[in-house]
Subunit: 219 residues, 2 copies
């Protein structure tokens, strides 16, 4: 498996390719490559049994492809824990480092690293680390724009992207914080969020709020 192919599988997983067909354009956008290259690569991934591809429709991961993607994501998140907790990296800056390391990490190494880190449950951005808890986390978390008004929720995960992380940090929205969506204006693409502990009120774009994952507080 080349790092390139691994990237395709991981992106596919992140774009929901476990359950839905992901259009080529989304993959091309995410990876910053041209659509014809995606078509070509998909044919190659199909041949190797990682992906099911329907021309003009999009691609889905096979069970084998899904497993592989989860293992990669686990490696990525384990490195992030190491980089932040032991090496002192800023949470906003670990993504590109982990992105490289994940492709150079054997299963033996990942297992030893996990032991060394004392079996962390989550990466610094709140993503589940054990492969068996990744899908469970997806089920129990909501994208912030999906939350009903006036329902208290807790921020459990932020998509791992430097700019997004900086944006949310600037708006004082961090993992573990409890918030309430107080109103929404779909036409203006805005939502108003009340931050419970700081008592501040924040307005953010719904498009961006999509990258904030929350859990309903069961109190």
């Amino acid at each position: 498996m080349s790092p390139t192919k691994e990237d395709y599988l991981k992106i596919l997983f992140e774009l929901g390719g476990r359950t839905e067909q992901v259009p080529n354009k989304e993959i091309a956008n995410r990876l910053g490559i041209s659509p014809p290259t995606v078509t070509e690569m998909m044919n190659s991934l199909v041949k190797a049994g990682w992906v099911v591809y329907t021309p003009y429709k999009g691609s889905k991961l096979t069970p084998k492809g899904t497993e592989y993607a989860k293992k990669l994501i686990r490696k990525h998140r384990l490195w992030e824990v190491f980089l932040v907790k032991h090496l002192g990296f800023d949470i906003n800056k670990v993504h590109p480092e982990a992105e490289l390391l994940e492709h150079s990490t054997s299963t033996v190494l990942a297992d030893k690293l996990e032991t060394y880190l004392n079996f962390p449950e989550y990466c610094p951005h709140g993503g589940a680390i054990p492969v068996d808890s990744m899908e469970a986390q997806e089920v129990k978390t909501l994208h912030l724009p999906e939350v009903e008004v006036d329902t208290p929720v807790k921020i459990s995960r932020i998509v791992d992207d430097e700019k997004l992380l900086q944006y949310f940090r600037n708006h004082d929205l961090n993992i573990g914080d409890s918030i309430i969506v107080t109103s929404r204006d779909i036409s203006l693409d805005l939502m108003t969020v009340h931050h419970i502990s700081s008592k501040e009120t924040i307005q953010i774009s719904q498009t961006i709020a999509q990258y904030l994952f929350v859990e309903i507080i069961s109190s």
Copy 2:
């Protein structure tokens, strides 16, 4: 810089390409690729300023190429320290892991790792880690077959290769041990070594002993 090109630079450094012209064949052997591929790659490395190449003679690193190679070797050795001391890898098994990781390690990451490891001087096989001490180490160490008979020496480094490491371990020759070469038979490619602390006498092939680096004990 691709991992492939990085490997060429590193091998060149290890084969003495800092001071001498390294023939293509040696590089081809070490990397397990065909000689024409080496010729082709050398032309590409010349174009990028990493190497000086004399057709039919061999290649030397430019100062820029030497610096790059040393940085790679530093990364490799830092990872080895981490893998052995923190993750519990066997010394004989870390090479392939570090070989992959070194290509995915930014300077920032290497620096933070070095700090975390508390600025180790040597890798588990005795190789110097700070880039400025690598050449000094080369100067003060000898290949075991170069040592005069009856001169007490200390094993300071073993070339990082699983089979070699296993061979020396089986013969009870480890880093830090003090030994004396008691005799040599060039025609039989054999040398007899006396192990000072264990008082055992060991016979090893001179060809292989070349991969043991020692320092004269200045007592």
